[in-house]
């Protein structure tokens, strides 16, 4: 297996006992750090390439904030390596960013995934196409209770692509078109990003309980993009929501 001689996992750099029962998975290294700033104490830090992990506690609940960089392939590395060091049934909630495909889901709002459209290929060897990429019922239910009554949190399908430009219908070359974007909009898909379907499939395969929450940094209908200030504020509210949901689950609510 991919355990190094010091018993720490090959890429993610953490070992047994160094991962909490609740993992907040981000793409952005900086966002993982921001999550860890909410901890009452930080007991473990590991850093290797885009994988940065912080393990600590909030009110006695042990959490890990971990970044994986961009893309489903990195998400796979994190999940496979967590398999050996995280407890069975570990809750993994993605706290990411994405682009909105619906006019009503505005820049600065939050998207919670009720399922994911598998446009990536990383998860295919585990589960053939046709297998549904879905969040865990308990995690989704906790997120739903936390978002109750809020009009800035949207629930819907998330399309997961394995690229940022061509794979998400951005016409950065004459050979490209926006047909995938149009197709996702026609299906009523809420947001476009690069990790969720791989997370859902692998989490289910390995016996983890996953959820996915993404800030909306852009709106592909109106072509708006978040300013740095709006993006930072969105990140804060995403982290608030994820941590609130995690604490609710930890407290048995």
């Amino acid at each position: 297996m991919t355990v190094r001689s010091d018993e720490r996992r090959y890429h993610i750099g953490v070992g047994k006992g160094e991962v909490g029962g609740y993992v907040v998975l981000t793409g952005d290294i900086d966002r993982a750090k921001k999550v860890s700033e909410r901890f009452d104490s930080i007991d473990v830090k590991a850093s290797n390439r885009e994988f940065n992990a912080f393990t600590g506690t909030i009110k006695g609940v042990k959490l890990t904030a971990m970044s994986t960089g961009i893309g489903p392939d990195n998400t796979e590395i994190a999940l496979v390596e967590l398999k050996g060091v995280a407890q069975n049934g570990c809750v993994i909630v993605r706290c990411g960013s994405s682009g909105s495909l619906q006019k009503r889901a505005e820049v600065g709002d939050i998207a919670v995934s009720t399922g994911a459209v598998r446009l990536e290929k990383t998860s295919l060897p585990y589960a053939a196409m046709g297998y549904p990429a879905m969040p865990d019922r308990d995690v989704l239910s906790a997120l739903r209770r936390c978002a109750n009554g809020r009009d800035d949190v949207h629930f819907g399908l998330t399309a997961t692509a394995d690229g940022f430009y061509a794979a998400q219908g951005r016409r950065v070359h004459p050979n490209l078109d926006d047909s995938v974007l149009m197709k996702m909009m026609r299906l009523g898909v809420l947001n476009f990003e690069m990790e969720t379907s791989a997370l859902f499939i692998l989490a289910h395969a390995f016996g983890f309980k996953a959820g996915s929450v993404c800030g909306l940094y852009a709106n592909r209908v109106t072509d708006e993009f978040a300013s740095r200030k709006v993006a930072e504020a969105t990140d804060r509210r995403c982290i608030d929501l994820v941590i609130e949901a995690v604490m609710r689950m930890a407290e048995g609510d």
């Binding site: 009720t114 399922g115 994911a116 459209v117 598998r118 446009l119 585990y126 589960a127 053939a128 196409m129 046709g130 297998y131 549904p132 990429a133 879905m134 019922r137 989704l140 239910s141 739903r144 399908l157 399309a159 197709k183 026609r186 299906l187 009523g188 289910h204 395969a205």
Partner: protein, 255 residues
């Protein structure tokens, strides 16, 4: 738009928002009787409307397989249906599932030809709210002795006889396929949930409505062994489980 022109196989002018679906015509007649309903249409499909807990509920048979249930769901949605619960039989797949258990489907693996309805990458998911209601209502219902309740993924297939790998073109590949599904904790296999769930996602979008779907399945045999058990006691257990499942479905739709 004249709605009549979009409904070709069901002879009714309207249905209730809540619909319980089942494959067999005989089961539909039985449920219509149970809800003291009257039969509205008896052509390709049996449709009736009755009451449970003082609230109207429609009952409709959907035949076997994806293409058939796709017709029923679309036409009933045109007639006003907004919440569907399928109750049906299935083959036990995961070792934790036995004949006569009850499985509440959270989603379905699409091995069913439903890519003709929506891209295959789209997840066939049951409506979380309806799944929660089914789980909640199942707590108050007595299952037959030894019958267990499961909540999880099911498998929807195109080819009924793939349950008997020796009848397929490539027996080893078919067996390998079942093994892979077991490794992903897929509980049982049937033929309609994938199309039901995907249709409701597509119809919600096309009709700008909130159309929900859920399903309760009772294994009546075991995949790779026998599609319908030959054991009389197990058959009785499965019948009891089906009665209980129908009760859960009716309560989740009307309570």
């Amino acid at each position: 738009m004249d709605q009549k022109k979009r409904v070709y196989h069901i002879n009714a002018k309207r249905v209730t928002e809540n619909v319980i679906l089942c494959g067999r015509r005989s089961r539909a007649f039985g449920i219509i009787k149970r809800v003291k309903g009257r039969v509205l249409s008896d052509e390709d499909y049996v449709l009736g409307i009755g009451k449970n807990e003082g609230k109207e509920v429609a009952v409709c048979s959907h035949g076997i397989g994806g293409p058939s249930i796709a017709i029923v769901v679309r036409e009933l949605a045109e007639l006003g249906a907004r919440r569907f619960v399928r109750v049906g039989s299935s083959g036990a797949l995961h070792p934790s599932v036995n004949v006569g258990d009850v499985v509440i489907a959270t989603g379905a693996v699409r091995d069913d030809g439903s890519e003709y309805i929506a891209p295959i990458e789209l997840p066939a998911i049951a409506s979380p709210g309806l799944v929660d209601a089914l789980v909640e209502m199942s707590k108050g219902v007595a299952l037959p002795k030894g019958s267990k309740l499961h909540v999880g993924l099911v498998h929807s297939k195109y080819d009924f006889f793939s349950e008997l790998p020796e009848l397929t073109l490539d027996e080893q590949a078919t067996r390998k396929g079942w093994e892979r599904l077991r490794n992903l904790r897929v509980l049982c296999s049937e033929m309609e949930c994938g199309v039901l769930f995907v249709s409701c996602i597509v119809l919600s979008q096309r009709m700008k409505a909130h159309i929900e779907a859920g399903a309760l399945l009772v294994p009546v045999g075991r995949v790779e062994e026998e599609p319908y058990t030959s054991n009389a006691d197990l058959r009785k257990k499965a019948e009891g489980a089906m009665d209980a499942a129908i009760g859960v479905a009716l309560d989740a739709l009307t309570k």
